[in-house]
Symmetry: C2
Subunit: 455 residues, 2 copies
């Protein structure tokens, strides 16, 4: 018989991996709660009519589609079958698909429940999503997203708070990061003053490569994309913009003086930076014009977080969008949100060994099992320890001590309690510290008060 396996691009999570992942999600969740965000969940399956056309043609192909139950072929003519067009076939044989991200289901949720929702709605959502991408290192077909959004409020205070949230989450993780911020309106303004509004995507894509390929090559690329000499020249101070955030803003005010939308973007940035003066951030916040993620989606602020001590892509990102729900017929719902990249954060915490010891600790104390006779004494003691909140196991079988010790070792249980006949007549326990090897005779009350433990 073949050893069973799981579909490519998917993962099992072992107890240790789960403890680490729970630490990540719980940390993020706690910070969300401090800011008044509330959790929702949506079903794994959405109607394909909800999902199709929302992620571009490429995205449509990456949706996992669920075959209709019952007779999946009814309603398809012989001609249609023999046409062998996979997309058209799927549109007849499948009504449902697995969610591709959390944004579209959230938009659908907002429209469907508009009358029950208390706006401004601060929601977070931590659930898996599925994409039929080609699996490769660090890219999975099933992975968790961890999104928070405020919808139904245009106030920039929301942007300020989301920056505080990102800062606080990474402070708690102990990951040194740089938070980068940009504004789509500034990018629009730049394209406008260059007279190249329709080339805004080409321009930002090229600027974005400055670090990697250098100025000369960026200019070459801009030329290849058909930007005029004059526009490229005008762009130079923008590409090379430097100094403090405040200095950058002053320069942008001059550069964008003729663009109404550009100046609006500058003032938005300025407001956010102003308000952040009144709260202290742990991380650096940097105005970065090369930041252009999800350009077609964001309409105001754009955020991204990069780890300083690990070479890895952005570990968090987000921004403001104007029209979350228009595609479902509900206009005028703007919002702003961020999404934490749990898998990358997992890798960063691993690489820097930043997991707190107690986040990985499961059982605190294992009682060795010497057989039936001792159980009458042990069971009530163990019940008392558990009632006191001490995570305690009794090894279920009276096998060789060595085997029981190996179990404790493998499970990283820090203390083992040995209570055989000799100890029990004294009403005592031999407590072994599994790290130091130290052993001492104690009474059960020492365990209850924790006076003999240190985890």
């Amino acid at each position: 018989m073949q050893k069973p396996s799981i579909p490519k691009g998917t993962r099992d999570f072992s107890p240790e991996e789960m403890a680490k992942r729970n630490y990540i999600f719980n940390t993020i969740r706690e910070v969300y709660h401090l800011y008044g965000f509330q959790q929702i969940e949506t079903p794994a399956m959405e109607n394909l009519s909800t999902l199709m056309g929302k992620y571009g043609d490429e995205g449509d192909k990456l949706l996992f589609k669920i075959l209709n139950s019952g007779d999946c072929l009814s309603g398809i003519s012989d001609e249609e079958l023999l046409e062998r067009n996979p997309a058209r076939f799927a549109s007849k044989a499948c009504e449902k698909g697995l969610r591709y991200d959390l944004t579209v289901p959230f938009a659908r949720y907002v429209v469907q429940h508009r009358n029950e929702i208390n706006f401004p709605f601060k929601r977070y959502q931590i659930q898996p999503v599925w994409r039929a991408d080609r699996p490769q290192k660090g890219r999975y077909r099933e992975f968790y997203q961890c999104d928070s959004d405020v919808v139904g409020s245009d106030s920039l205070i929301n942007e300020v708070e989301l920056i505080q949230i990102m800062d606080e989450v990474f402070r708690r993780f102990g990951i040194r990061v740089s938070i980068k911020m940009n504004n789509r309106k500034i990018l629009s303004g730049i394209a406008e003053i260059l007279g190249e509004s329709e080339k805004i995507v080409d321009i930002t894509v090229a600027i974005d490569k400055l670090d990697k390929i250098g100025l000369a090559k960026v200019n070459e690329e801009l030329q290849a994309k058909g930007l005029s000499e004059k526009a490229i020249e005008q762009l130079q101070p923008i590409i090379l913009l430097s100094g403090t955030n405040h200095e950058k803003i002053e320069q942008l005010r001059t550069i964008l003086a003729e663009s109404e939308i550009g100046l609006k973007g500058v003032e938005e940035l300025n407001f956010i930076l102003d308000r952040l003066q009144y709260v202290s951030l742990t991380s650096g916040l940097e105005l970065d014009l090369t930041l252009a993620r999800g350009l077609n989606y964001y309409t105001g602020a754009i955020f991204e977080v990069k780890a300083l001590d690990v070479q890895i892509g952005s570990i968090t990102g987000g921004g403001r969008y104007d029209n979350l729900t228009g595609v479902f017929g509900m206009e005028g719902v703007s919002g702003v949100g961020v999404s934490f990249g749990a898998d990358r954060i997992f890798d960063v915490l691993n690489q820097l060994q930043l997991y707190p010891k107690d986040a990985l600790l499961t059982t605190q104390l294992l009682f060795v099992n010497f057989g039936n006779k001792e159980e009458a004494w042990l069971l009530p003691q163990i019940a008392r320890l558990r009632a006191a909140g001490i995570r305690t196991e009794l090894y279920p079988e009276a096998v060789k001590m060595k085997k029981q010790m190996s179990y404790a070792d493998a499970k990283k249980i820090p203390y083992v309690a040995i209570a055989g006949e000799n100890e029990i007549v004294q009403n005592k326990i031999n407590l072994k510290n599994m790290i130091t090897g130290e052993q001492k005779l104690i009474i059960i009350e020492d365990l209850l008060t924790g006076s003999c433990f240190s985890f």
Copy 2:
């Protein structure tokens, strides 16, 4: 445009529902941890070769199958297409399916990771499962299961601990329950002494109806199923078995004196009841011979939990099985487990209004927003409160007070802080208790110390 919807049988969970569900899962999780259980997760999608044939023919039909990505029709001949056999078609066009329960994926996990697992393996798993059942009240196509199992240990101490776990979970919920226990070996023994071993299923199904249809009808049914008069007569003391658990065990020892397997079951029950004397249970534990859930699967103890104050099916169940992983080619792995029915527990807690107030409390304090001018004073104060762990919001826009108050009301925020120009010059806050309507002028330190709060 049509209002968007979700597939039938699936659900969205609102913030309030999520708070309740998280309370349920966190309570169960905490108790699992006290007993040394560790969490794992498996992918939503399994290979269909893993799932098919594990749940009977009916189960195979209830699997959600995922259409292969890319060209799903390649490898299917025109003849096969025109044959229009849905099952055969799906076997060619689909390699993956959504998990139907947590047991089969767990068995697959144990076999696949046998060399990394530390046995005895105490694992729990809280994840959704999917079934293409006809949706009806209380039955969904996506629902969470919440399973714990110990595998790789035959010790009855595991049964004892699982009973303690069920007892402790419902004690924490405040749900009064009866824990019912039976043993498959006793049922086998009964069938054996009646000389009707092959009718064991009919017998237990009939016995199970005693409460609903009464003794006369049970006997009629047994007759209809072909049991001899003699067997039915022999069965009477068993159907009518009564008294304390201890008395029932004594009677069973006599009744089953001639059945080796029956006596083995009695001794197993006796051991478990004996050990439970040494720990105090909150709930009643009742030996119930009519309990026969999952008869073809369980080989030893069988458990079920019934709520005493709500009319609803069993809210938790489980038992011991001999051969979890044989179907994947790994013999000799026995185990015992229980599964909490989260949806039914949710309904019971709702009906009895047992949710603790603080489980549903999200934001504790809302600051009214009076406009930009006040933000310079407010933002650092709010940052201090959050740093002290107080879940605090600033309403993001300076809209009418009434609207801000309605927001707090709808979100059930218990306190609203009003700090306008007048208060700020005094460095004070007007704190309004949203339940009593009471209002008092305080300093921010009163908030930090919590001296003016009671949640």
